[in-house]
Amino acid sequence: MLITCPYCGPRDLSEYTYQGDANRTRPDPASADQAAWNDYVYDRINTAGEHREFWQHSGGCRAHLLVARNTLTHAINFVGFAREHGLPKHQERRKGGEA
């Protein structure tokens, strides 16, 4: 499996560290909503098909990446910087001015 880092170009899987499912929404750190935290910490959608996930190019530029990869075929359809494409939703809300 080759992942094309937007900074370094195509690199071998062994340079990357998997950081897991990017479909989760981290609750606001101030939130005491147990169900939302349980959902974030334990529950997964476990997609068979295109899966949004985080990788870090830990053996290269160390950038955090958002990757869209097909879990049935290992085909990679999208790679972008996580800071641009993988924001947790509560941060998006903050950007929009809502608490």
């Binding site: 071998d12 062994s14 529950d43 997964r44 959608i45 476990n46 997609t47 068979a48 996930e53 290992h74």
Partner: protein, 444 residues
């Protein structure tokens, strides 16, 4: 087997012994049956299981014709008298993890919830060949965990003590004893991770995985269970909230109780029932077998500084594996980095194997739960029962998993051995986290 048989007969009253010998003679597979069939030109052997068409309805449907599904069907029939059962298998019997594992069996756990469950499994293994009248080649050759730091050895001693509290055998070994036990092992591990000791469970060992599937399948079939292959579940039938059967590629099948035991495909099957999220990720685990060698190692060994477990099969091949690849996948194949890592560990432990050729490698889909412990439970919907989260330890659990799942289905409540293995333990804060590592789908 013969030795076990003689011991058992010697321990019985003469009348019970006679009954037992008579049962052995009349068994479908026995020396007597070989002789009888030889005299009839071997024309009378029956297939190990029938190929029935699905009936419109059953008392219980089990989705998944793997080890756990088949053993569940067997124990439903044997222990609970529920024989109007169908096992639905998408492909052919034994194509999944029951035929893809590295065949190791052990009960060397720290936490009592796991210890009692897996020890029950080992006890079922000990009598499984007789119980099934099918030689599963259970070989109690021992499982030896190597420790490479004093801290790790302390941890092993603690785990060994915990095992012995639960009535499970455990023994610490010194490096000298280990060297005598397995002379081929480089106990300096290349000088980098020297072996400082080990923990062995001598009653642990291996079994022939295909025979387990075939033995359970025949045992269930002979008690009236329909094993239906090439029958993929495409949806669930509902009556309000309640699950009342399934739609399949071979038509609609109704059932009072629908049980799911589909390992790596749990997410996909549960989505058909509208359950979108579970504390499970599907990952790939690779396994390897080398060309056949003369017998040189009569135990299972695990490497504690990395992650490697290795045994020598009766055919002579080294059967071994390591970590999961580590990313979500439903492809039954892995990538090269983990292959290199496992080979490096193998050669570090056994330098003498450096020039041995690899025969095959393959991958299986692991239902990695978030605390490394399985889920055997009623629900999550009425009329439904769920068995999943085996991480990469499902094979050794095959008998106990089926035994407990059958109990749970028949009685509508868990047995004490699986009472803690609920789906809502994550919400309630009662995770069974063997390694104390917190929520991650990389535990086992």
């Amino acid at each position: 087997m013969l030795e076990q048989g003689i011991k058992r007969v010697a321990s019985l009253h003469w009348r019970s012994a006679l009954v037992w010998v008579w049962q052995e003679i009349m068994a479908e597979y026995s020396a007597f049956a070989l002789l009888r069939n030889a005299l009839h030109g071997n024309r009378d052997w029956k297939p190990a299981w029938r190929k029935p068409d699905p009936k419109p309805s059953y008392d219980v449907i089990i989705i998944g014709g793997g080890g756990h599904g088949l053993s569940t069907a067997y124990y439903l029939a044997k222990e609970h008298g529920i024989t109007n059962v169908a096992v639905l298998e998408r492909g052919w019997l034994g194509q999944g993890n029951i035929g893809r594992n590295t065949t190791m069996i052990r009960s060397n756990y720290l936490l009592p919830e796991n210890s009692h469950f897996y020890e029950h499994s080992v006890k079922l293994w000990e009598n499984l060949s007789h119980d099934l009248n099918y030689n599963v080649m259970f070989s109690q050759r021992g499982v030896l965990n190597l420790a490479h730091t004093p801290a790790q050895l302390d941890d092993f001693a603690r785990r060994g003590n915990s095992m012995r509290h639960c009535g499970i055998d455990a023994e610490l070994m010194t490096p000298d004893e280990i060297k005598r036990f397995i002379p081929a092992l480089d106990i300096s591990v290349g000088g980098r991770f020297p072996v400082v000791g080990g923990l062995i469970q001598r009653r642990a060992g291996t079994a022939r995985h295909d025979a387990v599937a075939w033995g359970y399948a025949r045992g269930a079939d002979r008690r009236g269970v329909d094993i239906i292959e090439n029958c993929e579940v495409t949806g669930f039938l509902r009556d309000g909230d309640r699950i009342v059967g399934v739609t399949t590629t071979r038509g609609e099948i109704r059932a009072e109780k629908t049980a799911v035991a589909v390992a790596g495909n749990t997410g996909a099957v549960m989505k058909l029932a509208g359950i979108e999220r579970l504390p499970i990720e599907t990952h790939v685990l690779q396994a390897f077998v080398s060309e056949g060698l003369k017998p040189f190692m009569d135990s299972v060994v695990t490497f504690g500084a990395g992650h490697l477990y290795v045994t020598q099969s009766d055919k002579g091949g080294m059967v071994f594996g390591g970590d999961i690849d580590g990313y979500n996948t439903y492809a039954q194949r892995g990538n090269l980095p983990i292959v290199e890592e496992v080979m490096a560990e193998m050669v570090a432990l056994f330098p003498g194997l450096a020039r041995v050729r690899l025969l095959r490698s393959w991958g299986g889909l692991m239902d990695m739960s978030m605390d490394g412990t399985p889920i055997i439970t009623t629900g999550p919907l009425p009329g439904m029962y769920l068995n999943c989260g085996w991480c990469y330890g499902g094979f050794k659990a095959t008998p106990a998993s089926g035994w407990c799942f059958a109990y749970t289905i028949a009685q509508d409540r868990p047995h004490k051995f699986n009472a803690a293995m609920t789906l809502d333990r994550f919400k309630r804060g009662f995770i069974i986290d063997e390694k104390g590592q917190g929520a991650t789908p990389r535990l086992h």
